[in-house]
Symmetry: C2
Subunit: 292 residues, 2 copies
Amino acid sequence: MSRVAYVNGRYLPHRKASVHVEDRGYQFSDGVYEVCEVRESDIVDLTRHLERLDRSLSELSIRSPMPRRALAAVLAEVVRRNRVRDGLVYIQVTRGVASRDHPFPSASVAPSVVITARSSSRANADAMAARGVKVITLPDNRWERVDIKSIGLLPNVLAKQKAREAGAREAWFVDREGHVTEGASTNAWIVTTDGDLVTRPADKGILRGITRRAVMDMADQRNIAVVERPFSVAEAKAAREAFMTAATTVVMPVVQIDDTVIANGEPGSVASDLRARFHEAVERVPTRRALA
Amino acid sequence: MSRVAYVNGRYLPHRKASVHVEDRGYQFSDGVYEVCEVRESDIVDLTRHLERLDRSLSELSIRSPMPRRALAAVLAEVVRRNRVRDGLVYIQVTRGVASRDHPFPSASVAPSVVITARSSSRANADAMAARGVKVITLPDNRWERVDIKSIGLLPNVLAKQKAREAGAREAWFVDREGHVTEGASTNAWIVTTDGDLVTRPADKGILRGITRRAVMDMADQRNIAVVERPFSVAEAKAAREAFMTAATTVVMPVVQIDDTVIANGEPGSVASDLRARFHEAVERVPTRRALA
């Protein structure tokens, strides 16, 4: 079966899915995106992802391409057409196509919408989580508005590449004060020796992660304290556990930061438990329901 | 006559010029660009633009898509096919098309190359220069590697839009120390009461402008002192002259910064003279020669 992508109103064979070279996403990174996990054909945390998409669009004064319910239906249709049972669905919205000029084009220019989906192996992800992953730390050199989920991801690309070259899975950005901000595509967490979950407050220095929010909700239900405060690299290296969260990795235990092994080098019990029970706790929108 | 664009080896009608939705330029702003002025069918400062393109590619470990001479020939062919006498030629190179994943794809993935050209009115540009333009100042919120001419231009887009909404032509970014870094798409200059040209050193805080370099060369030839040092917004507002440089605007006098009129509100003589003589001083590569 060949893959299908949605591009500006049409479902196209993936290999033919294209946008104009003067799409502002291509020339200016003038657009935003979301990635939702697909689990057993359900779209995970769809409501919050669509809310955040609206917020990102609003921050950039890009108009919403279609009503939220219609967008949910298209996402579901792309999942369905690609027969994704477990995997991801990706949506990107840009300011549209216009002759190259920095300021916003005329209000008559329609935003561009691209939606793709792909399957991924749960077994592989679970095996990785059972081992835990290594992260490296890098100075945070990104722009100030990383709270907007924009496609301007070049610093993240470079950080991820450095991580890969170091045999690591993720790079944690570190601010001038030596505090971890977030990963290149994940939020960063530690578990203190007191058993508290610590993650940085979702101010303008990090993205307001949807999986981060879901983990907070889970912690609340289990009476685990969540403390939103910055933590240093040194504190993370000495923590009882470390982990990262994102729709693409759910809860992923971190067992090494730079050259330092965390605790005994095994995934921690708090992170592993949050991961194991995550899909019981979150909103799951069946593809069929979103299409109805 | 319809416009033509070069896309990955083919000359296409502009309206059909497209790239794949998983081009890394579209999803990650993982690419770089150059804009050259075209003047009387000559490409201005072509050598330096191609050198800077190579440097940007090298900083991002994107391989060069073709030898420099071949690239020059394609640029010239796009200028020729679009019958651009005065205007611009634009080139964008990205890391190519690959399934979405932050780290660099396999070395077998070819970079994408898009080249477009368009005519613009010299009369309009000269009329604007005769009046001078207004700029606003904004905090510099960009990433740290603005020395790389990447397509990650969202902060620049937002700044330019703010300028437009304030009735201005450009936004000058200001660092934490209150010094002007550069404009959203231009370099920033002042002329002191002593007649010195002042512009910020081309360290990692600004782009190493080609037109900036050409103006330095011109100043040298005229025994005008050029001082590379940061200058504050207050100093700029009290300067004898202010101006900005870029391939898209050549030398453009600035007559107002925020609410402050510069000197008597007329374009300064130094900037106007540099503009008038600019095209005698720079490298001009005839389209025909680049094609040979």
